[in-house]
Symmetry: C2
DNA sequence: TTGAATAAGATACTCGGTGTCTCAGATAGA
DNA sequence: TCTATCTGAGACACCGAGTATCTTATTCAA
């Protein structure tokens, strides 16, 4: 049952250059990031990415099996870095600096992508493993480093150096942007002063349960 | 330009009963909850809901403007209740009881719906306000009540009675299920003992910053 | 009881997006 | 130079949300 294709195809493909390999993949990843920044994950279409990259849609699917996989690849391509603040001896200030960076990332393009990925996890939980690195890893280590230095100074116990504790601030920020769609002014400081700092103070006490 | 509709319509509608008002809305909401439980939010189609409810798709859209609004209504219809544990004087135990209930809700059908709604917020942040009640309200008040009683007993300061502090456990649980697609064994206790309890202990100290 | 107004059930249709498929021609490697 | 491979382009199939429209059951007022 032959389908009618390309009848009268008259394309004047003017000796256009064709990229391959890393050059091609890089151009596509950059196009993905730009589309993400402009439209967000949901409104980003594969056609738009293909058009912006000057590539064919089939090329996208030849390299990545789905929109989600493509976005994951683009995130890998431009991994946003969290800078560990210099050791100032000011624990609150250092944590504040890390949280501010994380908040900025969540609001920016890579944050939009990450939020979109979380939405996709909701639709297909089996994807969770594929994108775990982009959700947990990049933010926990810098915070752990800040806490480690505080532990060295004796401000907090070594028992406080767990991913759970180091990730509290990040988790709360992420929760905020997921539910509210933004991180309102002052939320970073609210989390810092109502949760993270008192939590560390409580851990410094160690021992007995609250009361 | 007359479109051809219903040519040869031969429907044998056998005097089928037609429901209205609350009966109809209830049947539709139940159908939504069943579809959510079976397929999750994303894979739930309006056609399937209509078919299961024995209703027309137009009827769905006559009552609710979109899939999201319909799911919000279904959640209202079956509002999962968080029971405030009896005043035992055991703060950790009471918090544990509340967190366990919240975790169970997040894993169950209404949790699946809520996760789907969060995914929709990601695609259209303006919807955030429409569903805020279903994300924050149901869980914060019971926890605040538990904390309030602890404050009366003098275990924690009144300053600890903020939504931010009361919601820490819930937020962390929600974050967990969003990212991992599940709440692994032991996570509730991990959050309780590594975060919530030490946090309250730190707040009980009041005053000076950590160190 | 009856007739008009209202709204339910059914279904065809539009629209937009993902993912598939095919093809001509550019590119790379022998 | 010749050949195998992969790109760029775009038509296409498919699916689901939301719309339009028709028939008819139900409600309510006269």
């Amino acid at each position: 049952m032959p389908r009618v294709l390309d009848v009268g195809k008259e394309v004047v493909t003017p000796g256009r250059r064709r990229r391959r390999g890393e050059e091609l993949r890089g151009a596509i990843c950059r196009a993905v990031l730009e589309e993400l920044e402009e439209h967000g994950f949901a409104a980003m279409t594969m056609d738009a990415v293909a058009a912006r990259a000057g590539a064919g849609k089939a090329t996208l699917y030849r390299h990545w099996s789905s929109k989600v996989q493509l976005v994951v690849a683009a995130l890998e391509y431009s991994a946003p870095e969290i800078i560990v603040p210099p050791d100032s001896g000011d624990l609150r200030g250092e944590i504040h600096a890390v949280l501010r960076q994380i908040a900025a990332d969540l609001v920016g393009p890579s944050g939009a992508a990450a939020r979109g990925l979380i939405a996709e996890i909701v639709r297909s939980p089996e994807l969770a493993s594929a994108m775990k690195p982009f959700l947990a890893d990049p933010t926990t280590p810098p915070m752990l480093e800040v806490l480690r230095r505080a532990a060295v100074r004796g401000e907090i116990p070594v028992a406080a150096l767990t991913p759970r504790i180091a990730g509290v601030g990040t988790d709360l920020l992420r929760q905020c942007i997921l539910i509210k769609g933004e991180i309102p002014e002052g939320v970073v400081e609210e989390i810092l002063d109502q949760v993270v700092v008192p939590l560390l103070r409580g851990l410094a006490l160690g021992g007995a349960p609250a009361s």
